[in-house]
Amino acid sequence: MNIKGWWWKILGVLIYLYVIIGGLTVPLKPGVLKVDPASANTGTKLELNITGYNTHFSDATENKAWLKTDSGHSIKARDIHIVDDMHAQLIFELPEVLPPGEKVQPLTLIMDNEKDGAFVQPNAIFVKAKENTTSGTEGWDEADFGHIHTADGIAFPYRNILHETIRNTFFHVALWFAMFIMLIVGLVYAVRYLRTHDYSYDIKSSAYNKTGILFGILGLATGSIWARFTWNTFWTGDVKLNMTAVTLLIYLAYLVLRGASSDTDKKAKISSAYTIFAFVAMIPLLFIIPRMTDSLHPGNGGNPALGGEDLDNTLRMFFYPAILGLSLIGVWISTLVIRYEMLKERLFQNQK
């Protein structure tokens, strides 16, 4: 046993342990779960009941709240009644007129205290202008919130609908990246086999492909669970899901192909050729078609992709290590398969 050859396995496991522990224990940033009522008229006194998430209303002393229009005007809450940490009632005096724009305008709720920092709920409430009123800015302030607190410590972003499932980014998304890395390695070995006809390359190619298929199945499973909580169903008609299913079928056919053949030399040649063909067929399935049609996934059909506000630095702290850790573990699994296959091959040779 030489420790030198081991370090990357330990590294992979440690990184992934860090991802699992950190990814599951870091709290979410505070956010607003529910705002009631959902609409109001101008010129009225508005009592807004807020249900917060991970908030500390009663611990904080400097609770503040604003409503802001898209045109950059805002009003400050006149009064804030704290019920408990998670519940508060905000009292607003809505002005008689709305700033220039639509007759019905969505207002963004911004809350701030020294414990939670500032957090925002877009389109928290819709305000309707009274009949026969002109628009104006009387009663509205220019949006300037003065000093806003920032919370200490790290926390994952709070997103509507996603809530706590945002942590699945480290598992679901990282699995796809790791799968792709495994399949690329499998492809490279397949090409090397066809060039050199060295049988060990074929064993390597098939081992990496198998690990890739395993990661693909796990990726589909984690995605399915995620979909249950965000889209309310395990399987949707989403293009990306169906194209992934097709890709997995193509690769499962690869396993059948390997099982069907008994002549090692022929098997190696055919399955290497099929690997290249399958990989080539996968590219339009996973990268071109989903980008051209509407999809519920980020990065397709005009939805934002990784980046911007959705993948912030706290998520990156776990997301990139997750890819690295999973890939190292994948390489480890593949080397185990390779060693097993090599031993089997040697046993077979000795018998003859």
Binding site: L194, L249, A260, A278, V280, P284
Partner: protein, 218 residues
Amino acid sequence: MNISKVKDIFIKELSVEFRQRFAVGGIFLFAATVVFLIYKSFNDINPREWTILLWIIMLFAGLNAVVKSFLQERRETYLYYYTLFDPIDLIVAKLMYNFVFLTSLFVIIIAIMSVFAGFPVKSLGLFVTGSLVGILGIAIVFTFVSVISATEGGNSTLMSILALPLVLPIVLLLLKISAVSVRLMTDTSIGQDIWMLVSIDSILLGAMILLFPSLWRS
């Protein structure tokens, strides 16, 4: 690539096919029977069922047809070919032959279906271009897979296991194009789908031409 040799192989394939007329007849009989069976059980076939039926029959009849093209020949014949032709000539000729064969099969299936179930296509140009590009893709996949199963000693089960998943994306696009051309749905960006088919075709064709020579040597 040598054009005259490609032509020679192509003509040879065609004449072999016509000499074994029962095989061709069998495939057409298969198509006719399935259409008739479904017509009798549905009584009235609406455009949605029409498009799905068309491509399902096409897929299975085509699979049966292409399996033969590589499997009907014996190992010795291959050895003989190997001394005569460049592998690229051979694969291009086989592909052209399969494409022509699948296209004529398509025309015949359409003819049989028109008799029993009518012809609901409204945008003929779209339907024809989309179908031809799609059939080329199906021909490429089937040809490649039949090469694989021929080197595996003529295993036709293997052929269908490998071919169906690979051909699935093409068929999905074809179903969409057909649905648009019978006006089941409208899509202004359907041209994109045809370009997608063209690009899938060219990627698969490139992969096949690159890989065939190394498979061929066995």
